[in-house]
């Protein structure tokens, strides 16, 4: 049994490193992204092996899923520009001249001491972990939830999460501040053309998948209190639904006018900040929840946050589009 586990883990890690290497060094950008998505899925598996199902969910939904979609969309847009620009932007030529090879080897050699230093640092750690699980378990009851990860994210270290929500909002504002990207192919046509032959299949898929995804999101949100799941996972699944709709050509931005989009995107951050301010005044400490109401407050916070996360991620995917009326 242990041997099997050893073998499995060994293969997993080798596969992980191999995929990373291939993703970073394959000649074709499209396959690089595909390999990167595969890498993300393998990471999710690693998280499961490390008994970190919360991360596994997040990794699968955000790390592999959404990042992959973002990368693919960007590549499609990049290729879409090939018509406008002279140089070859889609396919990267392999570094075959002497200089490039020299740089490759030189930097590899220079990075060796870094590698050894890091390995040495890790291996020098004592064999037993020093963590905070004891403190977390001692205080879990007062946190309002029973899933320790959710307790950390939304109670013990809720301030991190408050800033986190603003990172997302900041990314959206930043992207919008650069103006929308006008290329010869808009986001809908990317979806349409890449899946052109199967557009009816896509539509069916959307009809079937979107409601399921929405239910999954709601479930993840609810279950997060005591089992793996939570706002980020739920939000990203919801975002995936939105992305599907966008790809299928649903005119989401007609539904979500610019102002509504903005309001939805800021709802999470606003609720978070208001709750922070309120708790400071009422409880005397920033983001302090009275244990008897903590569960409810956290669920409320998570629901709004999940909505905002979903909208923001979907808006990130669609680039600068939909920011103006």
């Amino acid at each position: 049994m242990t041997l099997l586990a050893w073998g499995f883990d060994g293969l997993l890690l080798l596969g992980l490193l191999g995929l990373a290497w291939k993703a970073l060094n394959s000649t074709d950008l499209f396959s690089a992204i595909a390999l990167f998505i595969a890498f993300g899925l393998l990471m999710a598996l690693v998280w499961v092996r490390l008994e970190a199902p919360d991360i596994a969910l997040a990794e699968a939904a955000i790390g592999a899923g959404l990042s992959g979609a973002l990368l693919l969309a960007a590549l499609a847009r990049l290729r879409g520009m090939e018509g406008n620009v002279t140089s070859n932007t889609g396919v990267e030529e392999a570094p075959n001249n002497i200089d490039a090879r020299l740089v490759q080897w030189l930097s590899a050699i220079l990075l060796l001491p870094v590698l050894f230093g890091l390995v040495y640092g890790v291996l020098s750690l004592p064999g037993n972990a020093v963590g905070l699980s004891a403190e977390i378990n001692a205080n879990l009851a007062a946190s309002g939830v029973s899933n320790p990860v959710t307790a950390v994210l939304l109670n013990f270290r809720a301030y991190d999460t408050l800033l986190e929500v603003f990172v997302l909002l900041l990314a959206l504002i930043a992207i919008w501040s650069m103006g929308s990207i006008q290329f010869n192919r808009s986001i809908e046509t990317i979806g349409k053309t890449s899946l052109e032959t199967t557009s009816s299949v896509l539509d069916t898929l959307v009809y079937l998948l979107v409601p399921v995804l929405m239910m999954v999101a709601a479930y993840l949100l609810w279950v997060g209190a005591h089992a793996p799941g939570g706002a980020f996972q739920a939000g990203s699944v919801l975002a995936a639904a939105c992305v599907l709709l966008l790809l299928a050509g649903w005119p989401l931005h007609r539904l979500l006018t610019a102002m509504r989009l903005r309001l939805l995107a800021v709802a999470g951050p606003v609720v978070f900040v208001s709750m922070a301010a309120y708790s400071l005044i009422a409880e005397g400490a920033l983001l302090q929840f009275p244990p008897e109401h903590a569960g409810t407050l956290i669920l409320l916070l998570e629901t709004v946050a999940a909505l905002s996360i979903a909208v923001t991620l979907a808006a990130l995917f669609s680039g600068g589009q939909g920011q103006h009326e």
Partner: protein
């Protein structure tokens, strides 16, 4: 397999990504490299918490990694848009090596 090997794999990913970040000119590849480095750091963060076979997984690194994943996707989205704008401006998704004159 000990948790150290997972951590070492994380270090491996970090250094692989760093190498790719330095040698590859194409921005999309650099963005991939940054993402893979991030995964490596996450792996170190979580794997090391399991040293000594603690019965209860430490939730703090888990929460940190989830936070890290969200940061990564935000940064990726921004980087990709920046890359597209740059490509639209210069016709190439690489960094121009000359400094502005």
């Amino acid at each position: 397999m000990s948790s150290f090997s997972f951590a070492l794999a994380g270090i491996g990913l970090f250094v692989l990504g760093l190498h790719a970040l330095i040698v590859h000119a194409h921005l999309l590849r650099k963005i991939l490299a940054i993402n893979i480095m991030g995964s490596g750091v996450s792996l170190v963060l979580v794997a090391l918490a399991r040293r000594g076979g603690d019965a209860l997984p430490d939730a703090v690194p888990h929460a940190m990694v989830i936070t890290g994943i969200v940061v990564a996707v935000s940064a990726t989205a921004l980087a990709l848009v920046l890359m597209l704008k740059l490509a639209a401006e210069t016709g190439s998704a690489t960094l121009p090596d000359d400094s502005p004159e």
